[in-house]
């Protein structure tokens, strides 16, 4: 049947307990059109007016394009009723209609169930680094002044002839070398906790030996 400007009037009154003829308003009253071929659903909410009569206002001319997507064919009409007071919602098969929509279109392909286009993740490009050669050259360049320093110290006559082989001297110098070794280890990847733990012990030893050594040197200088 072709319905153009027809109001569907449905009275929902069959669910009261008292005598079966009283009209009630319920929370959820929907009218569902299901296309029997594509199984696509179109829902309309039925509103109740003051006289407790439910209507859905279907202007088929506009609804054909907007709600039905201009897809004609056989539709089954169901009434879905739900409410807080009902123990279970009810789906009542009302009718089966044949909608002939002018300029009927083929049902659009359902895109939601197909795979979306693939996204390839773009990892962060690493920052531009200078070529290895330049870095190597500058590493050598930075270490070069150390050689120059040693040469200048030799020219100035810096010497360690005054060193005394005592316990504190060995402890102090050994402690300093141990600290340097701990730092090299730290640079190579040992974490800070281990480093500080090792450092604590070595630092105490180095400090005590250093203090003793330097005081003895100072005392010797004073005595001179």
């Amino acid at each position: 049947k072709q319905w153009y400007q027809r109001r569907v009037a449905i009275t929902a009154g069959d669910f009261s307990l008292a005598d079966g003829a009283e009209e009630v308003t319920l929370h959820q009253v929907f009218v569902r059109f299901t296309n029997t071929k594509t199984k696509q659903n179109v829902f309309f909410i039925a509103q109740a007016d003051l006289k407790k009569k439910y209507t859905i206002d279907l202007n088929f001319r506009s609804a054909a394009a907007k709600s039905f997507g201009s897809v004609g064919g056989q539709y089954s009409v169901d009434l879905i009723v739900g409410d807080a007071t009902l123990p279970q919602a009810m789906v009542i098969d009302v009718a089966t209609l044949n909608l002939e929509i002018p300029d009927s279109k083929e049902p659009a392909a359902d895109l939601s169930k197909q795979a979306k286009p693939e996204i390839t993740h773009l990892f962060r490009q690493p920052e531009k680094r200078p070529p290895q050669a330049i870095s190597a050259v500058f590493t050598g360049l930075v270490l070069l002044p150390a050689l120059v320093l040693l040469i200048m110290w030799a020219k100035l006559g810096a010497n360690i002839s005054n060193i005394q082989i005592s316990l504190s001297s060995i402890g102090f110098h050994g402690g300093l070398l141990a600290i340097i070794a701990i730092y090299v280890n730290f640079f190579l990847g040992v974490n800070m906790f281990t480093t500080v733990k090792c450092l604590a012990g070595v630092a105490v030893v180095t400090f005590l030996c250093g203090q003793r050594l330097l005081s003895s040197i100072a005392a010797a200088k004073k005595a001179k």
């Binding site: 330049i134 500058f138 002044p145 200048m152 730092y183 203090q211």
Partner: protein, 134 residues
């Protein structure tokens, strides 16, 4: 007594130089500075000065490298450069405190104590630098 003799000696020579050739030229001043430095500075201070020069050159090279290739691992550049700057500062402190001309200013700090402070500060500095260099 040593200090006053030095300044008096310097003043007489300076007056001689000025009276003989008019205003002293830059070359004269620099060469005189160089001579004074070589003769009057104790050997220990010269050793420290050589060390300071080395530190400064290393810092300059690091800075030039950063200017050339950009600051990508900025923390590495900062830690290296600040390491040289801080080492330079500590070296200057050591030099000031071990200069025998300054014993009046640093009454309680012996040269050995200055050196001990120097070593300790360097240990802390290098720990922090190695942590920051990444």
């Amino acid at each position: 007594a040593v200090v006053s003799t030095q300044s008096g000696h310097y003043g007489r020579e300076f007056r001689d130089m000025v009276s003989s050739v008019g205003a002293p030229s830059l070359v004269d001043v620099v060469s005189r500075l160089y001579n004074e430095y070589n003769t009057k500075t104790p050997q220990k201070l010269k050793i420290i000065d050589a060390y300071l020069g080395y530190i400064m050159i290393t810092g300059v090279i690091q800075f030039v490298y950063c200017c050339l290739v950009g600051t990508f691992p900025f923390n590495s550049f900062l830690s290296g450069f600040i390491s040289t700057v801080a080492s330079f500062v500590l070296g200057v402190c050591l030099r000031i405190q071990s200069n025998p001309q300054n014993t009046a200013v640093f009454k309680d700090i012996t040269v050995e104590r200055a050196f001990a402070d120097f070593i300790f500060a360097h240990c802390v500095l290098h720990l922090v630098v190695l942590n920051f260099i990444g």
